[in-house]
């Protein structure tokens, strides 16, 4: 091999064509057009690029001391100044060695089966990009290649334990029921809102919107704020008379975006979906407008091996 030779060309291909389900096996085919000599280790690695928000500098002292609600707090120290950024980290899942004999990786095609774990998080633009990476370490420039693929996830078997969560207001008891807990991107999510006013609310407007949250929980870096992305507002009832003692039930339907990311928990961040209902009386009420949300799941595979 000459001083300026580029070394053998590497070709990394994955099969069969995706998307892949958790527990399915894909084959990484490493093609080499010449022997690679002086190899110390050769492996194919499976893992995902985890994208997540974090606080790049500064600390969070006040918010975690529960003093963030005090406007005037001369007896507290510390700062919450700092800004959030988004970064990516590689999450290693498994390694498969390539056959190296006497420091030589032979020319030709090497096929390695890689089984996706049952807990594999689903691919999404905002959080997870699955990749197979080739690492050949040798004397001289290492050989590296990477190939991305897509993982789709079915809904889990176990009940997810989604529950109503009150965000604001004390004027009425609001409960949200969904036809089912797990939905596919592009589907129309259907459910019902039951409002039992505690006081006379009069004519009120009921609105529904979808909410996507990304909770930051990095292994090493400082966690960032939870990202909350609200979808468009859908009005399901306008000027509905709400009186105490009478429970009003309003059905609703709202579109899950076609490119919705699946609900998932990764190493550095978690993605969740919510339906957020607002009851807004036309006149002033001391309890304020009520805002309640309920979680639901987005899955990207219709069926298949269920994750635990």
């Amino acid at each position: 091999m000459g001083l300026f030779s580029r070394g053998p060309a590497v070709d990394l291909r994955l099969g069969p064509a995706g998307p892949h389900l958790p527990t399915s096996t894909l084959t990484a085919r490493v093609g080499l057009d010449g022997d690679v000599r002086g190899v110390t280790s050769a492996r194919v690695e499976l893992g995902y690029v985890n994208r997540y928000p974090y606080r790049w500098a500064g600390r969070r002292v006040q918010a975690t001391m529960n003093r963030d609600l005090d406007l005037f707090a001369p007896d507290t120290a510390g700062t919450d100044f700092g800004t959030d950024r988004t970064t990516t980290d590689w999450v290693h899942v498994l390694d498969a060695p390539l056959p190296v004999a006497g420091g030589t990786l032979r020319a030709g095609a090497h096929e390695v089966p890689l089984r996706l774990p049952s807990w594999s998080p689903g691919s999404s633009e905002s959080l997870v990009r699955w990749e197979v990476r080739l690492h050949v370490e040798r004397s001289g420039r290492d050989l590296r290649a990477a190939e991305a693929f897509e993982v789709v996830v079915p809904p889990p078997d176990a009940p997810a334990g989604f529950a109503d969560e009150r965000l604001d207001g004390t004027s009425s008891d609001v409960s949200i029921a969904l036809d089912r807990d797990w939905w596919l991107p592009g589907e129309q999510l259907r459910g019902r809102v039951a409002v039992a006013p505690r006081v006379d609310l009069g004519a009120s407007t009921l609105t529904v919107r979808l909410q996507r949250t990304v909770v930051s929980h990095p292994l090493v870096r400082t966690p960032g704020d939870t990202l909350i992305i609200d979808g468009p507002v859908v009005t399901i009832a306008e000027d509905a008379p709400l009186a105490p003692g009478v429970e009003a039930t309003v059905p609703f339907a709202i579109d899950v975006p076609g490119d919705a990311a699946p609900s998932t928990e990764t190493v550095h961040a978690s993605l969740g979906w919510f339906v957020r209902v607002s009851v807004e009386p036309r006149r002033f009420t001391p309890g304020g407008p009520d805002r309640v949300r309920r979680g639901f799941g987005v899955h990207t595979a219709v069926d298949g091996p269920r994750s635990a």
């Binding site: 527990t23 500098a57 500064g58 600390r59 969070r60 002292v61 918010a63 975690t64 001391m65 005037f72 001369p74 007896d75 507290t76 120290a77 510390g78 700062t79 700092g82 999450v91 290693h92 899942v93 498994l94 089984r115 774990p117 049952s118 807990w119 004390t170 004027s171 505690r198 006081v199 006379d200 909770v215 930051s216 929980h217 990095p218 292994l219 090493v220 400082t222 966690p223 105490p244 928990e265 990764t266 190493v267 550095h268 978690s270 009420t285 001391p286 309890g287």
Partner: protein, 129 residues
């Protein structure tokens, strides 16, 4: 079919799970119970410099430089804050009490005609009135 698979990588913890990352100087300031202790902890130059913790090298040294420059002003604010904080708070409370007294007939009239609002108000503030 049971297949050995790699265990799920451990996830990190959220800000709530980690708790406060206040440093020792801030904790000392929080725990100081008397005015003199507060004044001492607040005037500690290390507390001022620790405000640049968590910033990357370079930026941190620049922030230190800035914090050293503003230290005299910091001292002034600490003294002013501690001397005026409680009188100001008392003044605000007194102002609130005066307004409550002043508007008592209005509140009485309104709550008489809207008992549900009175109940909601009592529930919210945990008191009668």
């Amino acid at each position: 079919m049971s297949t050995a698979e790699p265990s799920r990588p451990q996830r990190g913890s959220t800000a709530q799970e980690r708790g406060s990352d206040a440093n020792e100087h801030e904790i000392a300031f929080e725990r100081a119970s008397t005015w003199t202790q507060k004044l001492k902890a607040g005037a500690n130059p290390r507390l001022v410099l620790s405000q640049a913790d968590g910033y990357p090298p370079g930026i941190k040294q620049f922030l230190w430089f800035c914090l050293v420059l503003v230290y005299p002003a910091w001292l002034f604010v600490v003294v002013l804050g501690l001397v005026l904080a409680w009188p100001l708070q008392l003044l605000a409370k007194a102002g609130e009490a005066v307004l409550m007294l002043l508007f008592w007939p209005v509140r009485r009239h309104h709550f008489k005609h809207h008992p549900e609002e009175a109940a909601a108000w009592r529930e919210k503030h945990g008191k009668t009135g």
